[in-house]
């Protein structure tokens, strides 16, 4: 999966979770700025990311989850396995 595809998948996952449809995601997008991005949404997105990308999310990986790039990096940990 290319980086661009990763962003597209993540945009769809986030939109599905917060109920808005696909969101606009650029690497520098601050996740907390997305409408509806709260702990409930985060849990849902991470669960979907785990399922979609085959990763196991640990809390220490969440410490620096600030931008869409951080989320894409997290997701691609699974792709590299």
């Amino acid at each position: 999966m290319t980086r661009e595809e990763t962003y597209r998948v993540l945009a769809a996952l986030i939109g599905e979770e917060i109920g808005t449809g696909p969101v606009e995601l650029a690497p520098e997008t601050v996740l907390a700025d997305l409408r509806g991005w709260d702990s409930v949404a985060i849990a849902g997105v991470l669960l979907a990311v785990e399922s979609q990308f085959g990763i196991d999310v640990d809390r220490d990986r969440l410490e620096n989850l600030v931008t869409a790039k951080d989320l894409a990096d997290l997701a691609e940990l699974g792709s590299r396995r």
Binding site: E17, G19, A32, D38, S39, V40, I42, A43, G44, L46, L47, E50, D56, D58, R59, D60, L62, E63
Partner: protein
């Protein structure tokens, strides 16, 4: 979620729900071909069950296994009472769920399908308290109304592959190694170290005020202490079992919120989803997945000991309440429990006492009332959290300053 403890390793299984059939009721739904006896004419987006029993006939699953029926139902409440209606659900005559409901509720019944016999399954809804609107008003509506059903889903219940929890490594057997430093972190990062063990959402609100969106199972939840103990004893067994979960609309008419309810643990939690934002069945499915995920996170946290677990009750706890919880947490790993009380009896708000290694007691000036937890004040919690963090991370503690300016000794 189930926990196995073979060979002293924690293994979790998570239940995944897969939709096999979804029936929208009423207009413009396609429910007609599934209806048996006991239904009224369709209304927009729902159909009333009438009489004391109504039936559905749905295609049987293709393969044997575990399944759940997910039902979105609103009871008819007679203005003269009773203020709730009983609902019992049977699948091919076998009871799969029963309860008493007074608001829109999404509920599930679970059953095993062996694949033998008929290619259809019969679902019976028993609503013994069905009532007639005409008995109390001039509408002339003489139907005996049970529940307005808006959606029924047939879900496959899949036990996902075991997910083994890591053994605590040397680097993390003391939680302070997880991102701690020799000095106090920023408030947001500091608050992320704390995890509520349920009472109300006060700590969760404080965290939110400081942009600390902690992912914690009990952050916005209430759970009785004995049930919490049971959950910790069993590794939160059944936390994501659909047949133990309900989602209900609660609150004032203008801003009703879906509330997650776990009938096994008597746990209730905010979903932060208001009426009209999402269909109830979608909220149910999301919450079922979310609690499984957060339970897994909590068990990992407890295994690693990297968080400060927080227990509070507005009505005071005794040491005899707290100590069994502390000991239970220590069975998981090198955990720290912070017991928070309202200051009084000479205790200074913002201070923390270390009762023994891993057990602290902290004081805040006051708790938010249970009916106004969203008014939680971060400035009352933050000094105490700083003190607790310092004690936990074994770094020099800043002097606690009481609201009247007195420095705690």
């Amino acid at each position: 979620m189930r926990l196995h403890d073979a060979n002293c390793r924690l293994r979790l299984t998570v239940l995944r729900l897969e939709e096999r059939l979804s029936i929208d009721f009423g207009l413009p739904g396609e429910d007609r071909r599934y209806l048996g006896d006991g239904w009224s004419l369709p209304e927009p987006c729902s159909r009333w069950s009438v009489g004391t029993r109504s039936k559905l006939v749905v295609p049987a699953p293709d393969v044997p296994g575990q399944y759940a029926l997910l039902i979105t139902a609103v009871p008819f409440l007679h203005p003269r009472g009773p203020w709730s209606q009983r609902l019992a659900v049977r699948v091919n005559g076998t009871p799969v769920r029963e309860g008493r409901y007074n608001t829109l509720t999404v509920l599930a019944g679970r059953f095993a399908w062996d694949g033998a016999g008929d290619d259809k399954i019969e679902v019976t809804l028993e609503h013994a308290d069905a009532a007639r609107p005409s008995d109390c008003d001039a509408s002339g509506d003489g139907r005996q109304l049970g529940f307005a059903i808006s959606n029924v889903k047939l879900l496959g219940v899949i036990e996902a592959a075991p997910n083994e929890l890591a053994e605590p490594s040397a680097a993390t057997t003391r939680g302070r190694s997880l991102g701690s430093a020799d000095c106090l972190p920023a408030d947001r990062d500091l608050l992320l170290r704390f995890a509520s063990l349920g009472d109300n959402c006060e700590l969760g609100i404080v965290q939110r005020r400081l942009q600390a969106e902690a992912l914690d199972l009990f952050r916005f939840a209430a759970i009785p202490l004995p049930k919490l103990m049971t959950g910790l004893h069993t590794g939160l067994a059944g936390i994501d079992a659909p047949e133990l979960i309900e989602v209900q609309l609660r609150g004032e008419e203008s801003a009703r919120e879906f509330i997650f309810c776990h009938t096994g643990y008597q746990m209730e939690s905010h979903t932060l989803v208001l009426e009209g934002q999402q269909p109830g069945h979608r909220v149910f499915l999301r919450e079922q997945r979310r609690v499984g995920f957060l339970a897994r996170m909590l068990l990992k946290d407890l295994r690693l000991g990297g968080r400060i677990m927080v227990i509070k009750r507005n009505d005071r706890l005794a040491l005899s309440d707290v100590m069994p919880l502390f000991l239970r947490l220590r069975e998981y790993g090198p955990n720290t429990l912070l017991w928070v009380e309202q200051a009084g009896d000479g205790k200074v708000p913002g201070t923390v006492e270390v009762l023994r290694e891993g057990l602290m007691k902290g004081y805040v000036a006051r708790f938010a009332p249970y009916d106004k937890a969203d008014g939680a004040e971060a400035e009352l919690w933050l000094p105490m959290c700083r003190q607790a963090y310092c004690a936990w991370a074994d770094i020099d503690q800043p002097a606690a300053v009481a609201p009247d300016g007195v420095v705690a000794q």
